[in-house]
Amino acid sequence: MSAVAVNDVRNLEFCIQAADSNNLQLISKETLLRGHGVMTIFYVVVAALFVLLLVFLQFRRMRASISVESSAADFELSRHTFNNYAFAVNEAAVTEDRTMETSQQDRGADLRQGAGIWPPRLSSRQSIHLRLVKLSWGRFRQASLENELRPCRVRAHTEPPDDSSAAAQRLQPDEQCCRMLDLLPLAVLVTNSRRKIVFANAAAEKLFGYSRQELAAMFADMLLPPLRLNAHVAGSTCFDLTPLGGNSHGDRDLVARRKDGTEFPAEVTMNPVSPEGEPCNLTSVIDRTERYELLQNRRQLVHLTRVSTLGELAGSLAHELNQPLTAILSNAQAAQRFLATQPLDLAEVREILHDLVEDNNRASEVIRKIRALVKKVEAEAVPLSIASVIRDVALLVHSDAIVRGIRVFATVAPELPPVHGDKVQLQQVLLNLLLNAFDASESCSALDHEVTIEATFDGVDTIRVGVRDSGVGLAADTVDKIFLPFFTSKRDGLGLGLSISRSIVEMHRGRIWAENNKDRGATFYFTLPTGASAESHCSRREP
């Protein structure tokens, strides 16, 4: 028998065809009931079962018709729902039907993308309507089912059957809390475990230039690029909060990006909070542009004073360079003359060539040292020997000392451990103290001008460097003031040298002070910690 049963129950949707392709008849229920009694009962039972099946299917569809969060820009579907239903979305405000069609293999990807692209703008007060279409047994048949599309308008939040969706809802900070966060002057972002922004306060809107709705559609990584980088490195979606060398909830300086693409230095503090056991992050972002500029200015000041110190030495440095050049010229001309004479004295020429190489090296060494001091580089802390710092500075002031008639002595205690610091900056301190000592000695009429540099132990893990002059000494009322900025006792001094020296030494966790000698003149001391105790501190700090 060929028959086609049509179920005309409410919300008729699917035609089940008991098909004989050649002979298709439409039979009503009444006809069937008038037939054979047993068969009638059988048909009734079959029909009842069929109705039950349809009701069950309908029930399942209703259950699967999911929720869309009203305020969030994404929606969450369980894998089951996604696999079994096509879904179309009707957004009231836009009045545009968007139907997402996915193929079996890239569904997962599209689902995630969907979170990003739909809906483009959605205010928190809007309601969303979702129309779901049952797939025909696991396959998409969107086109053929177009007419059968049964709108099942679901108000947002009406039915949260899905776990992740429930989690997303719980992550929403309650309104009172939001209002409080809005009052804060600093930008606050609340992100979920996937780094997606679930809430941004008013300050964040202002700081980043995005509206709140835009922010709610974004991931925190888009605002704070380095975070994403780190997350990638860590190889997990869970972001590693630990800043380099800091504590787990500590601050870190990052570069954040505004809507217009400009970047700014930001101090980012992240604190994991767990409302009802759900992990989320409270991220506060502080614009550090001003502090950054201040740091930059300070760095430039240090560099400028160093360059101006070298400027004072320019004559002497030219002389240091002139000496090897003189030797090179005279040697070369002597060689020319020797080569013109007979018999040729090869040994002499060989010696000359050797000297030429040495003098050339000497000249380059002077240039290298000058360049190292002039170059504008970030301070970096490395282990270095204080003896080499003293040696380099002594070379730079060597001819200046001769011209001024000052003898310079340096004594370094044997087996001093290395200090941890920036070589150029420590040279700057020593250079500054030495030139001060020269000035002091010169102003004194005594005949024997001597300046002594002394490096010794000062306790177990500290090195003390002293620069002792034989000048007039310090007036009692100036001892406290000499390290203040713009205080100077020289006629043409800027008053920055010692103040900058102090900040450099303090950055190295050392101390700088001055004392009058018992006989005459004064001694300037500074200390530097040695070994591992110094390492942790100065590696990340700037003057």
């Binding site: 002139n322 005279s330 002597a334």
Partner: protein, 214 residues
């Protein structure tokens, strides 16, 4: 003056520069001695004999070049000096030239300039040397004169006539004539004009400053 018999002294505190200068000067055939400081030079060579010149760095530690020069002048053994310096200023140059420097060169110094300066200095040294020899000779001859003869000589070279001298000294004109003949003989002067020239030399010994102009 031949290069072989003359010595060039080089004083420079910078070892490589000193070696290079020494070599360059030696390549021109001069005999060279070098010293690292003014004191080192003054030690054995307080009075350098023979024909010599000094190549001196101004910026020496301790006693500097200019001080060494005045020390030499004070010791009345001036040596023609060529200064070389890395950073000469006008004041320094004037001071050095006034004190009798023959040249003032800046580093790096070209071989032609240096060797020409050395040549000049050595010629000057040899002139001074022959002058000194002559002066010594004249002084030796004058030492042979008796006091009276010396009195007569001094008055005669001032252009007085015999009888004026006789009148001034209160002795006879014949006696003056006899003195005059003995003075001529002792001073080994062939003419009275030559005698006047001898005395002139003794009276105005060469000052270091003048020697450069002659």
């Amino acid at each position: 003056m031949s290069a072989e018999t003359s010595t060039v002294f080089v004083v420079d505190d910078d070892e490589t520069v000193r070696r290079a200068l020494t070599r360059l000067i030696r390549s021109a055939g001069y005999c060279v001695e070098s010293f690292g400081s003014a004191l080192e030079f003054l030690g054995p060579h307080r009075c350098p004999h023979g024909c010599a010149c000094l190549v001196l760095d101004v910026g020496l530690p301790g006693l500097n070049g200019l001080e060494l020069q005045s020390e030499m002048n004070a010791a009345n053994r001036p040596v023609p000096t060529i200064f070389i310096t890395g950073r000469g200023d006008i004041a320094m140059t004037v001071r050095a030239m006034k004190a009798g420097a023959t040249d003032f060169l800046t580093k790096p110094v070209s071989d032609l300039d240096l060797l020409r300066a050395i040549d000049n200095a050595l010629q000057q040294s040899s002139r001074a040397l022959s002058n000194r020899v002559e002066l010594d000779l004249i002084h030796g001859r004058m030492a042979r004169l008796t006091p009276r003869e010396r009195e007569v000589l001094m008055l005669l070279v001032e252009g007085r006539l015999n009888k004026q001298v006789a009148y001034e000294l209160g002795i006879g004109e014949k006696t003056i004539k006899a003195h005059r003949a003995r003075v001529m003989e002792k001073m080994e002067a062939r003419s009275f004009a030559q005698l006047v020239r001898f005395i002139d030399k003794v009276r105005t010994p060469l000052s270091p400053g003048q020697s450069a102009k002659r």
